[in-house]
């Protein structure tokens, strides 16, 4: 395994991600500057004087030419300064970082639930194609994919919290501060995110296992008279793990972006809810920052998956 070749491979991947991130920056910047109304005027609300308007405009740099604004935004983004929120006067970066642990902890719990359900179900139905159990898994996963996650959240609230009064319907405490409280409150939102993600992943895992099960080397393995368990574990599952790794990476990234509605249903103070509130109160600096941060996380997760993928697959590691 020549380190230089792997390094070159990773270098190309990192470069690709950076180019895409730059593209994201441009789109996010353009998005905010398409605002029909004038963000400063909207932010100031009713009673303000002309001086207050011009002062704030100057302070936030909106009077400079677009290109200059973009480069200062770009410079800021690199150093972590994403501007200041009009509404709260707090730096965007600080607010985002405060809300990040909530979203990340929810996403990770969601992914764990998804893996706990999807791995066994997906692999089992892949290995038993055409059987009754396969059909059941297919239909339930199909149903899972079709459920609107916020409705699932409401049903869980109806059933568990309101019905049985077991778990709180919303509320949050940081994991680091009060783990017990966090645990009790993350169950319902975690389940909501996890079950929908599980449905999606089951389908992909099943296809991945099916493709491998039809491969030539599996027939070779059977022709060696190996015990069924060995054929399944060493030949089918191990080969299917590589595409499954990619699926998991993509799913984590999708959850990170998609928890908005779940966070609203469960009043979970994560990035999704923050963005939703920012959109409702036209706090553009915050919307810009949140979308950028989640997109950057998206790319980071994909990059990590690429690295793991290349290490796991000898065909790439030693190509």
């Amino acid at each position: 395994m020549t380190l230089a070749r792997v390094a070159r491979f990773l270098g190309r991947r990192v470069l690709h991600s950076l180019v895409v991130l730059l593209g994201v920056l441009v789109v996010v910047f353009a998005l905010v500057h398409l605002v029909p109304g004038d963000p400063v005027r909207i932010a100031l609300g009713t009673r303000y004087t002309e001086e207050a308007y011009t002062a704030l405009r100057a302070a936030s740099g909106l009077d400079r030419p677009l290109a200059a604004q973009f480069f200062s935004y770009l410079g800021g983004a690199v150093t972590g300064d994403l501007g200041v929120s009009f509404r709260t006067g707090q730096p965007v970066a600080v607010t985002l970082l405060e809300r990040l642990p909530a979203t990340v902890s929810l996403a990770v719990v969601g992914l764990l639930v998804a893996l706990l359900v999807a791995l066994p179900a997906g692999i089992w139905s892949g290995l038993h194609e055409g059987r009754l159990s396969d059909a059941i898994v297919r239909v339930t996963s199909q149903a899972g994919v079709s459920v609107p996650d916020f409705w699932l959240g409401q049903l869980l609230i109806l059933g568990v919290a309101v019905g049985l009064g077991l778990l709180p319907t919303s509320g949050y405490a940081a994991l680091t501060e009060d783990p017990a409280h966090w645990a009790r409150h993350v169950v319902l939102p975690g389940l909501t995110v996890g079950l929908v993600a599980a449905a999606i992943m089951t389908r992909y895992i099943r296809t991945a296992v099916l493709d491998v099960a039809h491969a030539g080397y599996v027939r070779t393995a059977r022709s060696k008279g190996l015990p069924a368990a060995v054929v399944t574990r060493r030949h089918i599952v191990r080969n299917a793990l590589i595409p499954i790794l990619t699926i998991t990476g993509i799913q984590l990234a999708t959850i990170l972006g998609g928890v908005v509605v779940v966070e609203v249903v469960f009043a979970w103070p994560g990035l999704g809810r923050l963005t939703y509130d920012a959109v409702a109160s036209r706090d553009y600096a915050l919307v810009q920052g949140a979308v950028l941060l989640v997109a950057a996380l998206f790319l980071l997760v994909n990059l990590v998956v690429d690295v793991l993928y290349s290490l796991a697959d000898p065909r790439i590691r030693l190509s």
Binding site: R5, R8, F9, R12, G130, A215, G216, Y217, R219, T220, A221, R222, S223, K224, G225, L226, P227, A228, V230, R234, H235, R238, N239, I242, S310, A312, D313, P314, R315, I316, L318, S319
Partner: protein, 573 residues
Amino acid sequence: MSARRVAPVLAVDDLRVAIGPTPVVRGVSFAVEPGQTLGIVGESGSGKTMTVLAATGLLDLPGAVVHGSSVLGAPLVGEAGGASTGATAGAGSGGTAGAGAGDGTTQLVGASARTLRRVHGDRIGFVFQDPSTSLNPILTLGRQISESLEAHRGLSGRKARDRAFDLLEAVGIPEPASRLDAYPHQLSGGQRQRVMIAVALACDPALLVADEPTTALDVTTQAQIVELVRELQHRLGTAVVWISHDLGLIGQVADEVTVLRGGEQVERRPVLDLVDRPEHPYTRELLAARPLLGQHRPAPAPASAEPLLTVEGLDVRFAVASPAGRTHVHALDDVSFVLRRGHTLGVVGESGSGKSTIANVLTGLVRPQGGRADLAGVDVLQQRGKALKALRRRIAMVFQDPFSSLNTRSTVGTSVSEPLVVHGLAGGRGGARARVAELLRLVDLPAAWADRYPHELSGGQRQRVSIARALALEPELVILDESTASLDVSIQARVLELLARLQAELGLTYLFIAHDLAVVERVSHDVLVLQRGRVVEHRPAADLFADPREDYTRALLAAIPPVRPRAAADRPA
């Protein structure tokens, strides 16, 4: 039938297989003695693979039902050769579940999964056709070999690894020590097939089943694999069942041959009897259709014809993107040749020799880095725009795969008339239909088939449609890139006859690209031999085949299975 001196390793009697309502194998019987090779030959769809998989219990198709009997002989005491140490893990122990008699034999038809698992890998080894997918890409070669030792011989760790080393060495893998921890993608196609053989012979099985083991390989590599199997069989006394569609190859390896057609056993005779005194008409047809060296010669071409196509210093480089960055492949390096009007130039070479690249350059699919290609005064490579389009009418091409050369969503008529429409020669609907009918008749197809869809035609018929389409613009030069390689021997013979007739009638000039020297000899007036993009030899066919000058050409010729089966030569009477 030679007297049965020793109990057969595998005795198959009246084997029948049906998928739902459709019978696929209709009563096949054969037997294989230790150290003997049984060849099973038949064209595609003849049920040869199905028969062997059913006979050995490896058929796991939904809805498949197997009848008849397939008995695996009892293991000889201290099985000849090999490292069988009568180890603990039930090596060849007698007494089997299912219908096996008490004498240590095993009935494979209807056997339980457990019985089959004990037999597979231990008593029967398998080698499949495609080396690129038959080995597990993320498992080291050592591991894939030692697996069956572990399962059947209870060997593990050091001992299994040493045994794997011996096997790799036995199948002729260079530096076996370093190869133990290598992965399949780091080997060539031929080497991977050798590893497959090592895997199959790991437990020194009584029977080796090889299903088209060399079909996906080059001719030279194929010859080496044949030698390897023969040598191992001689040393280990393993019985071999070799399946192939190539009668020539079967003649090379088999002691006895079974011919299958449409799931039925047409003939089963020792190879010599079969070749010298074939009884069944189908066998006779197969033997006659075999392209053999020194048998056929193309009709003489007008010697005084002036050159139609002169190619000088053709140079092509490809950039290949791989996950670890871009690498460059030098496909053609300073290739020059002359093709005279009405003549056929045979271009021969193994895969990767660049012969198809020449076709792609002449038809404008690939842009060369250098060189000239003069077609009756016009340099093909420099033409642009209108002139280029006019040039398209003078060069036509027929691809290899009949199934993907025609758009399945267009009727035969539409496909054939496309060039006419594009160059505005159709002259309205009526004109096009008439021209299409004429072209179909030209290639011996009924004009009414213009309204059929490709999936309603056989491979040979589709290839004739492609030829009709190529002739639509009355080209001067027709490039045939492996045009008959995908066809069965009997069908291939008829298409070659058609091409010869068209050349005589229309005075066509052919650039015939192929890897099978016998076919090239049959059609070519001149021959160009290519190796890794460089010209090895460019001489008239008669001289080249009579006395090949270059070693590479000689190796190619030597690799072709001789007319007379080997059995006749060295088998003591």
